[in-house]
Subunit: 189 residues, 2 copies
Amino acid sequence: MTDKRPYHHGDLRRALLAAAAEAIAESGPAALSLRDLARRAGVSHAAPAHHFGDKAGLLTALAIEGFNRLADALDASRERTGSLLESGVAYVRFAAENRAHFEVMFQPSLYDQDDPEVAVARQRAGAALSAGVSTLDEPPAAEDAREAELAAWSIVHGFATLWLAGAFPDPLGDDAGDAARPVIRRLFD
Amino acid sequence: MTDKRPYHHGDLRRALLAAAAEAIAESGPAALSLRDLARRAGVSHAAPAHHFGDKAGLLTALAIEGFNRLADALDASRERTGSLLESGVAYVRFAAENRAHFEVMFQPSLYDQDDPEVAVARQRAGAALSAGVSTLDEPPAAEDAREAELAAWSIVHGFATLWLAGAFPDPLGDDAGDAARPVIRRLFD
DNA sequence: CGGGCAACTTGTCGCTGGCAAGTTAGAGTG
DNA sequence: CACTCTAACTTGCCAGCGACAAGTTGCCCG
């Protein structure tokens, strides 16, 4: 979050996060190695620990970045289209385009979920999601609103997860968002 | 799958799978250690490799077991209730009660997804899911059937994943299945 | 110009996964 | 009842990893 640039490397922290995202997208979070990241960035094996404390710290930073990016994507979609359907599409598209972040965000055993920055970023994303549901033509009654929100979240999250897992037996095209649209539409227009 | 029982330990293969499920449920798949499993089972550190080849082999076996258990659960629910809604509830309940299996099943980077036994078990589960959709009162037209299936799968899978991740901000009770029912009902009755 | 501190490096430890080579125990055969 | 064959392990080893401790480097500010 701080914008002062370090001296030695230039911006090791960001470089490590980017390298981590790339490595995770290739081989999954379990195969991530701090030493490999250090090698990719051309620094010593202990340099990552200085910025993130330990492996969980690095993944915590990735999760924070992910929740913030997701909130940004959802807000942008809502401002642009005002459509809950398109917000759902944006959710799925975010997952496809930020695979590593998404995988880490929803696997809390990998990072420190009690971190206050995580809580803030997660709430931002949650609020962006809730705001989307309120754009429905027929806003549901107060008590139903919660269930509608859970249903919307579940269907887009499920589609995104299954897409990333390669679980769909038939090919559904290249664009996860376009593939998701007719499916999400079955829940609401 | 072979039923002849080994001699030395009794049934080390099953014991290791059970211990692995327990360990993963506690700390996630990334923290799994073959040597720790061996210690829990009271055997040498190389014993697991004999049964499963390597770590991926063990997780492959876990995934196979998981897909088969899921297929069984879905079939049982359909035979008992004939209701797609209750099949969805059964899906969520399976995830909650077999957390370790479920997490591994849908994280293909952890195991060998090209394994033929995995493919068979996965297809069994897929067929059980499809069969559930056909129990709808108004079976959708052929071309819509695929989308209806994806929507049903997505909403239950998403709910299950979010539940396991502890992503729901408010507490929804102890039983994942009961919590999911009103949410799933929003997609179909 | 000099102290201070952030950004690293170097070195080390215990643990892990994976491989190779041995050992043991039961099952099948004559 | 020996004899052998083989599955089910064990022992020993190596490289890689995460975490920690103790140095070293280089910019910034007074």
